[in-house]
């Protein structure tokens, strides 16, 4: 459990020294962030359930994030606000994941 936390802290420190993202890409980045958060929580949940698989976790992390960014980008091109859809869907999943993690912790 310590490795993911070390990773996140390292990432935050590195991110503070990186240049700013241009305003045009902020929406895309936020969607990717939601997808990444969802994958991270999904990984914790899987670990708690005892069926964690490294490959599934890592592939899910990148594929989800990239797909979300791609969809959002298409939406901007087409004039459809897919951004909100992505944020809503990932938001719902994050909440369910958190609920399940909480329950698993309480059951223990």
């Amino acid at each position: 459990m310590i490795y993911p936390i070390i990773g996140v802290i390292l990432g935050i420190i590195v991110g503070f020294y990186l240049p700013l993202v241009p305003q045009a890409y902020v929406k895309l980045l936020s969607v990717a962030l939601m997808a990444a958060l969802d994958s991270g929580l999904g990984g914790i949940r899987a670990a708690k359930e005892g069926c964690y698989d490294n490959q599934i976790f890592i592939s899910g992390f990148f594929v989800n994030a990239l797909l979300a960014v791609f969809l959002c980008y298409c939406g901007i091109r087409l004039g459809i606000d897919l951004y909100f859809v992505a944020v809503l869907a990932f938001g719902l999943r994050i909440f369910t994941n958190i609920a399940i993690i909480r329950r698993l912790y309480l059951k223990k």
């Binding site: 459990m1 490795y3 993911p4 936390i5 070390i6 990773g7 996140v8 802290i9 390292l10 990432g11 935050i12 420190i13 590195v14 991110g15 503070f16 990186l18 700013l20 993202v21 305003q23 045009a24 902020v26 980045l29 936020s30 990717a32 962030l33 990444a36 958060l37 991270g40 670990a47 964690y52 490294n54 976790f57 890592i58 992390f61």
Partner: protein, 230 residues
């Protein structure tokens, strides 16, 4: 929970990416708070584009109309009117008057106000220049016209709604000798100002430039009298 060293390294890497995303997003959100919102920028850019397009079209139209009405008499009349309206910069001989606040230390009990330049000092000087036949006047490169005000604005003097602080530089185009002697009359403006230690410097010159009026005239209330426009 996790098997193998490689899996751990990968896990740390993935979580690092998550952290990088988190902090960059946080930073850009902070940045967005400080700058004008993206929506507003796009809106303004759009408006600027349409305004520029309109401007271009109108300029085209203007040149076309100029060509149509290109008769010499009208052009001459137009230039004449623009000179009268102060829309053209003028040059010629005249005087340049530089005023600066007094360097004399005011005696205790004296009114310090008497040692600095006021709007009415400038007004008296300009009035004298006008009486002596000045044809074009400017204060600190601000053209003086019939609608120009010279008025006290705190520690500064406001001319054409622009504020200036000392030194004031008044440029008058006209007969240099007449203008200077009008200012140097015994008991005249300069003598009064010198009494309070205000430094006045009058220089005759053969090539002075008075800039064009930069502001706009508005007629919100005054209308042309019915039947008075030919």
């Amino acid at each position: 929970m996790f098997q193998g060293k490689q899996a751990k390294v990968l896990m740390v890497l993935v979580c690092m990416i998550l952290g990088i995303m988190l902090s960059t997003q946080f930073k850009s959100a902070e940045n967005a708070k400080n700058s004008i919102s993206q929506q507003r920028v796009e809106d303004l850019a759009e408006r600027l584009k349409t305004a520029e397009k309109d401007n271009f079209k109108l300029k085209d139209e203007l040149t076309k109309l100029h060509e149509q009405s290109g008769s010499a008499a009208i052009t001459r009349e137009l230039t004449n009117l623009r000179i009268k309206a102060g829309e053209l910069a003028m040059e010629g001989p005249g005087v340049k008057v530089t005023l600066d606040d007094s360097t004399v230390v005011s005696k205790p009990g004296d009114n310090a106000n008497l040692y600095i330049i006021h709007d009415d000092d400038l007004l008296r000087l300009i009035n004298e220049l006008r009486a002596a036949g000045a044809e074009a006047l400017a204060v600190n490169n601000e053209r003086l016209l019939d609608i120009s005000e010279i008025r006290c604005a705190g520690p500064t003097v406001s001319v054409n709604n622009n504020r200036f602080s000392p030194p004031y530089e008044i440029v008058a185009i006209g007969d240099p000798k007449t203008l200077e002697s009008a200012l140097r009359l015994r008991g005249g403006v300069i003598e009064t100002l010198k009494f309070w230690g205000i430094s006045v410097d009058v220089k005759q010159s053969d090539d002075l430039v008075v800039p064009a009026f930069k502001g706009t005239r508005r007629y919100d209330f005054a209308k042309v009298k019915v039947g008075d426009s030919k």
